[in-house]
């Protein structure tokens, strides 16, 4: 999952970056509005955290421009001003949630993950596509009732595919959401992850959770639980 964090306070920016990286996100950091717009235009972001008090272009304008460019990614606004007027105008400009500084890092993490889930149409942090269950909060995966141990990248791949369950995800898209820089990465790596995931989730080769669509990408094809 790829997150953009926009914050002009260096210490806070770096600290948040470390935490989101630790939580398995691909992190892009921006210190001002111009950088934020650059990342917003150039990278396939899953979610953005934007501080409203930026030095050059205000956070509000950054959001408005991203929305005007047709970007529908979920955006969480950070604001030092706890007034409702600020919250409301942030949300009106196109943000999906807000958090008033100072905040608990766990709270921020939970809200961001909730936004990502919401964008994929999930309402709970536990994604259920029987027999596969993935818990975004604990990063655990079960098939039926047996926990499956996954490596970091295997987990991230599965999380992204399950969030977009039913949709076709291209190899390039998956790569961009797993790695920070998009230099030519051997596309075989993705194939290797997918192969391993198939073996771990479906050792009996019975349910076929991951479908390969030749030349187009992959699709998580199990139905979401009602």
């Amino acid at each position: 999952m790829r997150v953009l964090i926009v914050e002009d306070e260096q210490a806070l920016l770096e600290s948040l970056g470390r935490q989101f990286e630790a939580a398995g996100f691909v992190v892009d950091l921006a210190r001002d509005g111009r950088e934020a717009l650059y990342y917003g235009e150039e990278f396939p972001l899953d979610v953005a955290i934007i501080d409203l008090g930026l030095p050059d272009i205000s956070g509000m304008d950054v959001i408005a421009r991203l929305r005007a460019d047709g970007k529908s990614l979920p955006i969480l606004v950070l604001t030092a001003r706890g007034r409702w007027q600020d919250k409301v105008s942030g949300l009106e400009a196109g943000a999906d949630d807000y958090l008033v500084k100072p905040f608990q890092p766990e709270e921020l993490m939970a809200r961001v993950k909730a936004l990502v889930r919401r964008a994929g149409g999930w309402s709970s942090p536990v994604l259920r596509c029987p027999p596969v269950t993935l818990d975004m909060a604990t990063q655990q995966v079960w098939v039926n009732d047996n926990e499956v141990t996954l490596t970091t990248y295997e987990y991230r791949s599965l999380e992204y595919l399950m969030l977009n369950a039913g949709k076709v995800v291209s190899k390039a898209e998956l790569t961009e959401h797993l790695y920070a820089d998009d230099d030519d990465r051997d596309s075989n790596v993705i194939e290797v992850f997918i192969g391993r995931l198939r073996r771990k989730l479906d050792p009996a080769n019975a349910v076929h959770p991951l479908e390969t669509l030749r030349g187009r990408g992959y699709r998580f094809r199990l139905q979401r639980a009602a």
Binding site: L12, A80, P105
Partner: protein, 456 residues
């Protein structure tokens, strides 16, 4: 006296001056008229006396000879009002005019030759008269001088009646004039005071927030005052804005460092106890900063001139919260009277509705109701904001904290309680009040009273 209106004062003093002027004028005119009339009368009597003297002669025996036809025919008709007699120097009456017949006229004592005198007297003991006496000396047939006194009496009745007629006319016309002048004066004062009344109305408009400044074309003296008042108001507004901006800047500059501190908790180099202390202190600092900033911002409202329609603010808050609490699938029910206007800053109304609704969303199971309506209470037209939810209800302690009277100073507030504390403070600042009840749909029902403005 100071409680009397300007209008009354001017009217009263001008009226008194006007009436005094008329009274004195009438008195003077009366005196002048009387004197003039008396002079004219005396002149006429003198003419009669002179012509009587001219037509009288002494015969060779020294007797007074009066012509058959008298120089003034009124002397011939009895009771005509004009009478005459001739006395010798010793007082013996030698002749009386025929008009005297049957009347008793009191004449003054005789006077010396060459003297002339005008006195008041009476006829038949009651009717007033003027008597003019003239002392003359004639040479008798033997060359001796014989003194005579000619008296002419004129009844004052026609003179008196003329005087009264004059007085009646004078009084009548002066009264009419006074009434007209008083009316004119009232109109003049009313017209003169119009700019002041306009200014008063304009000020009332400002107070109720329908106007931002004194408008209207004022005369020079008031234009200065209007400019000064406008200056004061805009200074006050600018001051308030500056105050708010600097508070917001302070908030921003304090809270980012606090955010940095709170992310430090996950620093691996920190032990559990230190982390706990850090957390608690950051939390506390934040609560204090937050609470004081909001309280100060709210207390900046003061005398409020702004008008804020309620429905758009309510809609914005509900839209925002629907977005934020999207996952909870809450049902929002808005029942806001469409014409409702809050007498105060939009920002303050947003804080009140935002915090009440946010609180309700936190507790609600699936439904939050926002109601706003106009009520008329002991303090005039008020706006009542009611927010209820279907959750478990507010804990007694929170209720107590919310409804406690007065504004607290530096008391620390738990993170959760800040929003409601702000609602209460804003409400108190605007002279309103807060109330908590149990909602019929299950949870808490929070009621806040705020001043309402007359709808546009």
């Amino acid at each position: 006296m100071s409680r009397h209106s300007f209008h009354t004062r001017l009217l009263l003093t001008a009226s008194i001056a006007l009436l005094a002027f008329f009274a004195i004028s009438a008195l003077l005119l009366d005196i002048i008229f009387r004197q003039t009339s008396e002079n004219i009368l005396a002149n006429r009597m003198q003419v009669v006396v002179m012509s009587l003297i001219a037509s009288t002669e002494l015969d060779s025996q020294g007797r007074v000879m009066i012509p058959e036809v008298l120089p003034e025919h009124r002397l011939e008709r009895p009771g005509s009002g004009l009478y005459a007699q001739i006395r010798r120097g010793d007082g013996a009456v030698v002749w009386r005019s025929p008009s005297t017949l049957g009347h008793d006229i009191r004449y003054p004592p005789v006077i010396m030759t060459g003297e002339q005198r005008l006195v008041r007297s009476t006829k038949d003991e009651e009717d007033p008269l003027f008597v003019m006496s003239f002392g003359v000396a004639w040479e008798g047939p033997r060359g001796e001088t014989a003194p005579f006194v000619f008296d002419v009496a004129q009844s004052l009745e026609p003179y008196e009646s003329q005087l009264w007629r004059f007085r009646r006319n004078l009084l009548g016309s002066f009264l009419l004039l006074s009434v007209v002048l008083l009316l004119v004066q009232m109109l003049v004062i009313r017209w003169g005071m119009r700019p002041l009344r306009q200014m008063g109305a304009s000020l009332r408009e400002m107070q109720s927030g329908r106007q931002q400044a004194l408008t209207g074309d004022y005369p020079r003296e008031l234009a200065e005052l209007a400019r000064t008042i406008n200056g004061l108001v805009s200074d006050e507004r600018a001051h308030l804005d500056r105050y708010r901006n600097s508070l917001a800047d302070l908030a921003h500059s304090l809270k980012t460092p606090l955010a940095v501190l709170s992310t430090l908790r996950d620093d691996p180099g920190m032990d559990g106890a230190t982390r706990e202390v850090l957390n608690a202190q950051v939390e506390r600092m934040n609560a204090i900063v937050e609470y004081q900033l909001r309280r100060a911002a709210a207390s900046g409202s003061g005398q409020n001139l702004k008008r804020t329609p309620v429905a758009p603010v309510a809609a914005k808050i509900v839209d925002s919260l629907a977005k934020v609490y999207h996952e909870r699938g809450l049902r929002f029910d808005q029942r806001v009277e469409p014409e409702l206007v809050f007498q105060g800053e939009e920002e303050d109304l947003m804080e009140v509705i935002g915090n009440l609704m946010d609180n309700a969303c936190k507790w609600a199971r699936e439904q939050v109701v926002l109601e706003a309506r106009a009520v008329s209470g002991s303090r005039g037209r008020m706006l009542e904001v009611i927010v209820r939810d279907d959750g478990p209800g507010m804990p007694a302690e929170a209720v107590e904290r919310f409804t406690r009277r007065g504004v607290r100073g530096d008391e620390s507030v738990e993170g959760q309680g800040i929003g409601l504390a702000v609602v209460r403070d804003i409400s108190v600042m605007y002279g309103g009040e807060v109330q908590v009840e149990r909602a019929e749909i299950g949870g808490a029902e929070l009621r806040v009273m705020l001043p309402a403005a007359a709808s546009a």
